[in-house]
């Protein structure tokens, strides 16, 4: 019965509802081979390197459009990688979430190609709207790069949210699935950010850790999905209406983070091994 992670990834890729053509590429240029590599690596991290517990994954729709909206946790995008892994390994059928990534990545050789081939696209409204209208699942971090720049003591806080995601959700009539991510700050305990070095390398900053390198430690992580939020409107509302919706989403995410910080021995014991799915 024991199957390797590779077999598991292959079987799950076969169940992804993505229209690959005979070259293994979908209309967005997402490549089956690249997704296999990515999920193989993320699967190792999700199952064996980190200890990730997922709460409420059943709140992510198995099919149809939806927008996952959460907080950034950790100096690099480990949070996005683990949410992608959770949607791929825990949902049935598995889903490939499409992160709305920072623009600087699309200017970087290799990284740009890997992002595109694995379905991670620049965070442009055009991309989000198109993907949602094609009933895909997108992943948004409204804190942007300021969110990943949080230092270790600020790891459970939220910085200002952008507002575009709410307008896109309204315009495409997509539910927002809020989630709180915990543990990224422990995996990457940022004590400072080197902005000047980052600028030289074409990235916003380089996180500095107590051990020097911006490499993640094998920390415990939690992803806590909240109830879907559906707002009234068509996306053309005045700013104060949109800001009200954004505040609601932010409050829910803050509550999910706070819930994750409470000791819950029964649930955590029940969760067992890493990469576990836990009922809310």
């Amino acid at each position: 019965m024991a199957t390797g992670l590779g077999d598991n990834v292959e079987a799950r890729i076969a169940r992804l509802e993505i229209p690959w053509n005979r070259y293994g590429v979908d209309p967005y240029g997402i490549s089956r081979a690249h997704v296999r590599w990515m999920m193989g690596l993320f699967g190792l991290m999700y199952r064996h390197y980190f200890s990730v517990k997922v709460f409420g994954i059943e709140r992510v729709p198995a099919r149809g459009r939806a927008m996952l909206v959460g907080n950034h946790s950790g100096g690099i995008a480990i949070d996005a990688a683990m949410v992608l892994a959770a949607c791929f390994f825990e949902l049935e059928p598995p889903r490939l979430a499409h992160s709305m990534i920072e623009k600087f990545l699309s200017r970087m050789p290799f990284a740009s190609v890997w992002a595109g081939r694995t379905g991670q696209f620049t965070g442009l409204p055009e991309h989000a709207v198109r993907l949602l209208e094609e009933d895909r699942l997108i992943l948004v971090f409204p804190e942007g790069a300021r969110g990943t720049a949080k230092l270790f003591p600020e790891r459970h806080s939220l910085v200002d949210f952008g507002t575009g995601f709410v307008r896109m959700a309204l315009k495409t009539r997509s539910p927002i699935i809020p989630f709180g991510f915990l543990g990224g700050g422990e995996a990457m305990p940022t004590v400072a950010n080197a902005y000047a070095i980052g600028k030289l390398l074409g990235v916003p900053y380089i996180p500095i850790t107590p051990y020097g390198l911006p490499l993640p430690l094998p920390a415990n992580m939690q992803i806590r999905f909240g109830e879907p939020l559906v707002f009234e409107g068509d996306g053309n509302e005045e700013d104060h209406v949109i800001l009200g919706y954004v505040d609601q989403v932010k409050r829910v995410i803050a509550d999910l983070i706070a819930a994750g910080r409470q000791p819950q021995p029964a649930l955590l014991n029940a969760a067992g091994s890493s990469g576990a799915r836990v009922s809310p």
Binding site: Y23, V25, P27, S106, F110, S112, G116, R117, L124
Partner: protein, 309 residues
């Protein structure tokens, strides 16, 4: 219907002429390059000269297809500006003067330009945002916009502006066909953009559909979904030659190619062709495989094909 094709010597224009003749239309062409043994009457002259106006005066075409523009890859410098802008203006002037009912301007999807922050699927309402990196595209963009402005300037003339993606097929003509000609295709190390192409017969079929349906407006025309450049190179039997960007740029400096061309093998230019499909009901009849196969049969890669033999 009497159709006059301006720039009839190009590969797609010849296929279009063939298709229109097959459909029972009366077809004539203008091209200063001529067309030896053409199956239709071809006037070997420059559209900007007075003799071209005489063709309009005598033929009184019902429809005109303007395919007489050139890219910077074919013709550098001022003359290209004069051909693209002066020629387009002459075509529309003659259309208005001689009662043409429908004019189809055939442009390119590279109108949108290639840039890191471009959306993956360009729609017709987008401005050409990436001109700064490739100023040699400016005259083609201006010709496209000029043709588009005819929609409101000459309401009595049905104007269609088509932005065709790359084409591939047995003629080997066009930007992509020329780029893929060698055995080893230079690419940029660390980059592998999506390329959108269709069979050259489908490109001609799309123009014929625009004529038949008299689709008024600006439309992207695309074939099957885009493919990574690496896949196209592999499937055409070629091998990639990935070069660091500075090496590639140095090589470009020694060739006739403008520096801006670099962005087009770095970033994707992909257009959304759904509006054209809705307006005309047109759909590409051939997939990637057929376009690649036909190209490969006509232009086998010298080294790799010999290796297989």
């Amino acid at each position: 219907m009497k159709v006059l094709i301006v720039g009839v010597s190009s590969a797609i224009a010849q296929l279009l002429a063939e298709e229109l003749r097959g459909g029972g239309h009366e077809v004539e062409g203008i091209d200063r390059r001529g067309w030896p043994n053409a199956p239709i009457p071809v006037h070997t002259l420059d559209i900007r000269k007075r003799a071209a106006e005489e063709v309009f005066r005598q033929l009184r075409p019902d429809a005109v297809v303007h395919m007489g523009t050139v890219t910077s890859l074919v013709m550098p410098g001022e003359e290209r500006y004069r051909i693209n802008l002066g020629g387009t203006r002459a075509v529309f002037d003659h259309c208005r003067a001689y009662g043409v009912r429908h004019c189809v301007f055939v442009g390119r999807h590279t109108y949108y330009g290639a840039a890191s922050d471009s959306p993956l699927f360009h729609t017709e309402d987008e401005p050409p945002m990436a001109l700064a990196s490739f100023p040699e595209l400016a005259d083609l963009v201006a010709a496209d916009l000029y043709a588009g402005s005819e929609i409101w300037r000459s309401p009595e003339l049905c104007t269609t502006v088509l932005r065709l993606c790359y084409s591939l097929g047995p003629s080997g003509h066009g930007t992509l066909g020329t780029f893929l000609r060698g055995a080893r295709i230079p690419t940029l190390l660390g980059w592998d953009p999506l390329f959108q192409f269709m069979h050259e017969r489908d490109a001609a079929g799309a123009i014929a559909a625009a004529l038949e349906k008299r689709a008024r407006g600006v439309f992207n025309v695309t074939g099957p979904e885009p493919l990574p450049l690496s896949t196209i190179i592999h499937e055409t039997g070629r091998r990639m030659l990935p070069l660091p960007e500075f090496v590639f740029a140095m090589a470009l400096g020694r060739s006739r190619l403008p520096e801006g061309a670099l962005a087009h093998i770095k970033y994707a230019v992909v257009a959304d062709g759904s509006a054209f499909a809705r307006a005309t009901g047109w759909k590409a009849k051939r997939d990637h495989t057929e376009a690649i196969r036909d190209y490969r049969l006509a232009f086998p890669a010298p080294t790799s094909e010999r290796g297989r033999a």
